[in-house]
């Protein structure tokens, strides 16, 4: 109740102002020159990605994310593009083209409310120390990203951006490092209880107890309607930060804590209910066995070493098209070696769609 839906205040707000060119490092420039996909895609809501290197993490002077397409060259280009926008929005009356900018930031304490809202249903409806869990994510500024709307650059008398809506959060928490925290304790207990299969439970127990120091809990949550262009940079950011942390952290212990051997993910999917054959034949809706709410979960599941599902207890509001599906929880364990493959497949999956 305490968050505002992302507002449409940015509509055409970018028309007059020239965009700052953020490709000051060779790395960003090369990324900018090679990326080309989003400008050609005018049929859906147009997004431009931006980023701010945060003050809290100056050592990563290299821009965190590539600036896409539109920004670069000249003001006139920008205007032309926007004119095309306007014409299109005149012609296609159903689809509005809205400019939105998203910024990728390091987590900070002010993001508490937004991140907590995103993780509200992380462990079904079990009462647990969610606030403590969110605190862990926000304290780990070296690995973890929070996506907020980015208007900060151009506003003069800018207020504290404590009020910005958090659209997405991603982080990786070492289960061994934080083992004493109440929330991690409760999370492990929840997962072990939720697991039905004895064999899988044994494997899970070893992971959570003996090998906890090598397991990274990959927390990734975003609003359902977040644009898919955000997803690959989000995961790139995470895995890059994990590898930078293994070199940059001040103590050897911390450096080692980011050498994950595997990642544990807790997420949700829709699985088809057992329905009569007669009904399904006539239904024009979805026919797949599993619908993944987050596209990358499909890739994770294929690359996972093992996974299990569990029933959810709280009331669900299931959209009409998915009335033949149940929302269930899914837990997956993915080996760290599979990550480069994942990143490749994620890019190609989302570049097509």
């Amino acid at each position: 109740m305490n968050h505002r839906r992302p507002s449409k205040r940015r509509r055409h707000s970018r028309l007059q102002r020239p965009q700052p060119f953020l490709g000051f490092s060779p790395f960003a420039r090369s990324l900018f020159l090679t990326s080309s996909c989003s400008s050609s895609n005018r049929h859906s809501r147009d997004r431009s990605l931006s980023h701010l290197p945060s003050e809290s993490n100056p050592k990563h002077a290299v821009c965190k994310h590539p600036t896409p397409t539109k920004r670069p060259s000249s003001v006139s280009d920008d205007d032309e593009d926007n004119e095309v926008n306007e014409k299109e929005s005149g012609a296609e009356q159903e689809m509005e083209i809205i400019q939105a900018d998203f910024g990728f930031f390091d987590p900070k304490p002010g993001d508490f409310g937004g991140v907590k809202l995103l993780l509200q249903n992380y462990l079904d409806n079990k009462p647990w120390d969610l606030s403590g869990f969110v605190d862990l994510i926000l304290e780990q500024t070296t690995v973890g990203t929070v996506v907020k709307s980015d208007g900060g650059d151009d506003q003069g008398d800018e207020e504290n951006d404590d009020e910005d809506d958090v659209y997405a959060v991603i982080s990786a928490l070492n289960l061994g490092r934080y083992a004493e925290h109440e929330c991690i304790h409760e999370l492990k207990k929840f997962l072990l209880e939720a697991c039905g299969d004895e064999n899988v439970k044994k494997k899970l127990r070893t992971l959570l107890e003996k090998q906890a120091n090598e397991v990274g809990l990959l927390v990734s949550q975003r609003f359902v309607n977040c644009p898919h262009q955000l997803v690959p940079p989000l995961y790139d950011a995470l895995f890059d930060e994990v590898s930078w942390a293994t070199e940059d952290e001040p103590t050897q212990e911390l450096r080692d804590s980011f050498r994950f051997k595997c990642y544990l993910l807790v997420t949700r999917i829709y699985m088809r209910k057992k329905v009569d054959q007669q009904k399904t034949v006539t239904s024009p809706d979805c026919n797949e066995a599993v619908v993944y709410i987050k596209a990358e979960d499909e890739i994770f599941q294929e690359l996972s070493s093992f996974s299990f599902t569990f029933r959810l207890h709280n009331e669900q509001l299931v959209p009409y098209e998915l009335r033949n599906y149940n929302l269930i929880g899914l837990v997956m364990v993915v080996k760290a070696e599979a990550v480069p493959k994942f990143r490749e497949r994620l890019k190609s999956l989302l570049a097509e769609s």
Partner: protein, 245 residues
Amino acid sequence: MATRIQFENSCEVGVFSKLTNAYCLVAIGGSESFYSAFEAELADVIPVVKTSIGGTRIIGRLCAGNKNGLLLPHTTTDQELQHLRNSLPDQVVVQRIDERLSALGNCIACNDHVALTHTDLDKETEELIADVLGVEVFRQTIAGNILVGSYCTFSNRGGLVHPHTSIEDLDELSTLLQVPLVAGTVNRGSEVIAAGMTVNDWTAFCGADTTATELSVIESVFKLREAQPSAIVDEMRKSLIDTYV
């Protein structure tokens, strides 16, 4: 006394409950600990009623009330209306109103004497509010927000408003409401005050994330430290209270 509680995993206790000097409404479906927290504080003094409104649990944001009456939106079912009429004390007038802005809890903030309302409320609704709740009605905004019922909460003894309310606005509101006001937050910096807490003249319930500082501000502005339920008598304010500094 102010108590910290939680509804399932949410700290927005003002969404799932409505507390007044004469009764308390609590949403069904939460764990028993939510309900029993209210019972523990209030059981001997005022009735604690479990209900839903329009089949939903967000009762605190849908209804508006004080010791004189309770206003319900048009989405309230007949059974719910009857249940409330049966469970609440006879002197509380329960009325279902036909208002386009059906989230009455977000549009109306009131105590036993004054109400602040959303600027776009119907004239008939305004009259009904004055009638049923026995209050003087003022159309106001809080820090530029029209949802006055969400961004401020006040009892007969004090009030808490949106943190970005200016000093001039605070002065003006304080004069209108005749109670000391403070601009503050609840639930670790949340500005939606009324969603994060619920209060009457002798007790308050805040979300579990509320910090110790926020809690002490709440206890001091609502004067909860010395208050006893038996001391609640209908008082006429004799002195004009300026801004609480």
